[in-house]
C-alpha cells in the first residue's frame, strides 16, 4: 500500500511540474509552432503522469485513469497537428533562424496548397 502511495505521489508531482512547464513553454516560445511543440508534449505527459498517479493512489480508479490517458494521448497530438496545419495553410510563417536552407520544403507546401485551391 505504502509503495503505491509513494509512486502515486511522485507521479503526481512530476505530472503537475510538466503541466506547469508546458504552460511556461507556450508563454516563452517565440512563435505558434514552437508553442505547440512545448504545449503538446509537456502537457500530454504531464496529464498522463498525473492521472496515472491518481490511479496509483486509488487502485480501483486505475481503469478509468488509463482510459482517460489513452484518450488524451490519442487526441492531443491530433489537435495540435490540426492547428499547426491550419496555421501553415493560412501562410503564418514560422520563425526560421538558420539561413534559407529549409525554405525548400516550406515553399513546396505552399505550391501544393495553391494547386489544391485551383482544382
Amino acid at each position: 500500500m505504502e509503495i503505491l502511495e509513494i509512486i502515486g505521489g511522485i507521479l503526481i508531482l512530476i505530472g503537475s511540474a510538466f503541466l506547469f512547464l508546458g504552460a511556461l513553454g507556450i508563454l516563452r516560445m517565440p512563435d505558434v509552432y514552437n508553442r505547440l511543440q512545448a504545449g503538446t508534449k509537456a502537457t500530454t505527459l504531464g496529464a498522463m503522469s498525473l492521472i496515472i498517479g491518481v490511479g496509483f493512489l486509488e487502485p480501483s480508479w486505475m481503469m478509468k485513469s488509463i482510459i482517460i490517458v489513452v484518450f488524451i494521448a490519442f487526441s492531443n497530438p491530433i489537435s495540435s497537428h490540426a492547428l499547426a496545419r491550419a496555421m501553415y495553410k493560412r501562410k503564418r510563417y514560422p520563425i526560421i533562424k538558420s539561413e534559407d536552407k529549409d525554405m525548400d520544403a516550406y515553399i513546396e507546401v505552399f505550391q501544393q496548397e495553391e494547386e489544391e485551391v485551383k482544382s
Binding site: 491550419a86 496555421m87 493560412r90 503564418r92
Partner: protein, 94 residues
C-alpha cells in the same frame, strides 16, 4: 487555503475572460474567450459539488456553442466594427 486560491484564480480568470470577450473587437477571439468562460465555469461547478451541471456545461460549452458561433462568423463578418459591406474575402486571417 489552496482551495481559496484556486477559487480566486478561477473566478478571476472567468471575469477576465468575460471582460475580454466583451471588449475584444475581433469576434473570433471573443468566441474563443467564451469557450474559456465555459471551461472555467465548468471547473467551478465541479468545485461547488455539482458534477451534473459541470458535465452539461462541458458537453455544451466546449464544442457545440463554439461551432455555432464560428459558423455565424464564417457566414457574416469577423470584426466587430466592420462597416464595409463586401469584405468577405479578407475575413479569414489568423
Amino acid at each position: 487555503m489552496i482551495y481559496l486560491i484556486l477559487f480566486a484564480v478561477l473566478l478571476l480568470l472567468m471575469l477576465a475572460a468575460a471582460v475580454y470577450a466583451t471588449f475584444q473587437r475581433d469576434l473570433l477571439y471573443a468566441v474563443i474567450a467564451t469557450g474559456v468562460i465555459s471551461l472555467v465555469l465548468s471547473v467551478i461547478f465541479y468545485m461547488l459539488q455539482a458534477p451534473d451541471v459541470a458535465l452539461t456545461e462541458a458537453a455544451i460549452g466546449v464544442a457545440l456553442t463554439t461551432i455555432i458561433f464560428i459558423i455565424t462568423i464564417r457566414n457574416t463578418v469577423r470584426h466587430e466594427d466592420e462597416h464595409d459591406k463586401h469584405s468577405r474575402e479578407k475575413k479569414i486571417q489568423p
